[in-house]
């Protein structure tokens, strides 16, 4: 997946398992799981905050999967320890399950096949879901029998994953983030649902990244930098220079000319940013 970070891809793949997305497996949806929360925060038995990626819950099984998507191999012992100290009391607060007295939970990790071996060495006995281009497999065991059965054999993946459930994070390419930036600028320029055609970077990010308010400051800084790069790239390109204007004296921008011309300019920047990424990687 060019330009999509492993973490963003995994978030979408896992949410996709709880939805009916054409061509994508609905394994968890079939067991009654729905996305109860994205980026949930729990407090464990040692009163430490645990920031997971997803809370997936099934009323049918009265069971929650606290999910950590690992788009890399960086798992320290502290993180594993925090997850190990989660209790049902940590999970039960504000659950939407119909019978909280019976609620059980377990932690699951999800990753791409390229990180599988290293992660397995670090996560102990926690179950691990592993996505490749052609199948979804499981390592270690789920405590819940139905979930264990559902993933006991590899699940074939016959088509492309969903990508629009979770838009992007700080690890994604500028070319990918630019899709959302340009789309929102056009909505603003049309002026139907927003108050002004001018917008500053933080407001723009809060409108295109729905989880912006809870993103930690280091990641926010990285995202601000990427969006700034995208907008300054527009100013450098002769195709877009006359279509996007920096508002004098403010950290704001606005579109000034025809939409189709703006689209062609935006598309060129996305393609150029993609080429720059290839150079960066090289």
């Amino acid at each position: 997946m060019k330009g999509l970070s492993d973490h963003t891809l995994l978030m979408n793949q896992m949410v996709g398992l709880c939805k009916k997305t054409y061509g994508w497996p609905s394994t968890l949806k079939e067991l009654g799981y729905f996305v109860e929360l994205i980026e949930p925060i729990f407090v464990n038995s040692e009163s430490k905050k645990v920031n997971a990626d997803l809370r997936l819950t099934s009323n049918k099984l009265v069971h929650t999967l606290v999910t950590e998507c690992k788009g890399g191999v960086t798992v320290d012992d502290q993180q594993i320890e925090k997850y190990a100290k989660l209790t049902v009391e940590s999970i039960i607060r504000k659950t939407m399950v119909h019978d909280p007295r019976r609620l059980e939970f377990e932690v699951v990790f999800a990753t791409n096949i390229k990180f599988k071996d290293e992660l397995l060495e670090r996560i102990g006995t926690f179950p691990l879901l592993v996505f490749s281009e052609t199948e979804l497999t499981k390592e270690n065991k789920f405590q819940n029998k139905e979930v264990e059965n559902a993933f006991s054999s590899p699940i074939a993946i016959s088509t492309k994953p969903p990508t629009h459930f979770y838009p992007f994070n700080d690890q994604d390419d500028r070319a990918l983030i630019a899709l959302y930036v340009f789309q929102k600028l056009v909505v603003l320029s049309l002026g139907t649902r927003e108050d002004s055609s001018e917008i500053d970077i933080d407001t723009l990010l809060s409108k295109i990244q729905p989880f912006w308010k809870d993103i930690d400051e280091t990641k926010k800084k990285a995202l601000r930098g990427k969006v700034n790069d995208i907008l300054f790239e527009c100013q450098k390109k002769k195709e877009l220079k006359e279509y996007l204007e920096k508002v004098k004296g403010k950290p704001s921008w606005r579109i000034t000319k025809s939409l189709d011309a703006f689209r062609k300019g935006c598309q060129k920047i996305i393609d150029d940013l993609e080429k720059q990424r290839k150079l960066d990687v090289w």
Partner: protein, 363 residues
């Protein structure tokens, strides 16, 4: 004519319906002056917000009924009176008995002005066919124009196809056309003719277009209203079903709640060149009216962030040669999805269908 209420309107339209039908049968009336009703989707808060249309003068009159209005429009080419029934606040009826050449032209301009918060209903092929099956099916019209052809048009099986067939054999002809391997992706139903009876005696014959225009002739205005309301209700249910799938994210103290799921347009005619297809689809031009930027994640898989220029709402898509997934953001209009599907049927693949949750076929 200044009408005061719904009862007077019904009486007036009944007179016009029956008289013009008699005169039409005697060859004294032109089809142009038949009773016509246009269904228009409105997201306007009130009738006073309806946009001014350049090239037309207009005035809006109120009646004793606070859901019924009279719109008079004129320019140097003609004039018309529309009786606007806003009983359903989202889907309005515009009734008129003036010449269709003038009224069609006005309605088209009235609805298609950018960002005016009005739209046609978009009846996909399967929706029109269902209406034909529910009533006595009298005929059909087809209109197909492949907008995605580039280069040598001679090597493409069908570039355009247009046809109108009325009579008892119409359904049989439609089936035969669909079995032809070259024609099958071009059988884009643009209208159906149906006859609806009340008490096996009084009836209306309605020609219904895919953009919600009903041209009526017959002996019963009640029959016309019955057909209108039934189609309006069925269409509104489809729009709401689509909006129930919209992607919604809301912030809470302990994380973000997430609802909704994508729908998919399934194509029978594969997209051979995704880049060219998207250049046409996202060009901001009619009929699709979509602005968008895209990024190929793989050579046959592309992520698209679009804006519907008709409403100014966002629309997120993913496309592969055999399908287009649609993620409708919260607050975006379900009619946008039906416009996309209907236009794909008329300008690319008439066999396209729309699927939602649980493999449920929405259209």
């Amino acid at each position: 004519m200044k009408l005061k209420n719904r009862r007077e309107l019904t009486q007036y339209l009944e007179d016009r319906l029956t008289k013009t039908y008699e005169r039409l049968k005697e060859g004294k009336e032109l089809e142009q002056s038949l009773l016509k009703t246009y269904i228009i989707e409105s997201n306007l808060p009130a009738i006073s917000n309806i946009p001014v249309v350049s090239g037309y003068s207009r005035d809006i009159l109120t009646t004793e009924d606070n859901t019924l209005f009279i719109l008079n429009v004129h320019n140097k080419r003609g004039r018309a009176t529309f009786y606007i029934d806003t009983l359903n606040p989202r889907f309005w009826f515009f009734h008129t008995v003036n010449k269709s050449e003038f009224t069609d032209s006005f309605i088209n301009k009235f609805v298609t002005s950018p960002l005016n918060r009005l739209d046609f209903p978009w009846f996909p092929i399967q929706f029109l066919e269902e209406r034909g099956r529910e009533e006595q099916f009298r005929g059909f019209s087809l209109r197909y124009d492949d907008k995605f052809i580039e280069g040598d048009e001679d090597v493409v099986p069908i570039k355009t196809l247009s046809m109108k067939l009325w009579g008892n054999t119409a359904p049989k002809v439609l089936d035969i056309l669909r079995q032809d391997s070259e024609l099958k992706h071009a059988i884009a139903l643009s209208g159906v003719g149906i006859k609806h009876f009340i008490n096996h005696e009084d009836y209306v014959i309605n020609d219904i277009t895919f953009q919600g225009k009903f041209t009526a002739r017959g002996t019963s205005i009640d029959s016309h209203f019955y057909v209108l309301q039934k189609v309006q209700k069925t269409y509104e249910e489809k729009v709401k079903l689509i909006e129930d799938n919209s992607i919604t994210i809301s912030s809470t103290e302990t994380g973000f709640k997430f609802y909704g799921q994508p729908m998919a347009i399934m194509l029978k005619k594969e997209i051979e060149d995704l880049k060219s297809f998207l250049d046409q689809l996202l060009s901001s031009k009619s009929p699709f009216r979509l602005w968008g930027v895209s990024k190929f994640l793989e050579k046959d898989f592309v992520k698209i962030n679009a804006v519907d220029l008709h409403t100014g709402h966002e629309l997120n898509l993913e496309a592969a040669p055999e399908w287009i997934r649609i993620y409708l953001p919260q607050g975006s209009c379900g009619n946008t999805v039906l416009r996309l599907l209907t236009n794909i049927q008329h300008y690319y693949d008439s066999d396209a269908i729309l699927e939602g949750d649980e493999n449920e076929r929405i259209i």
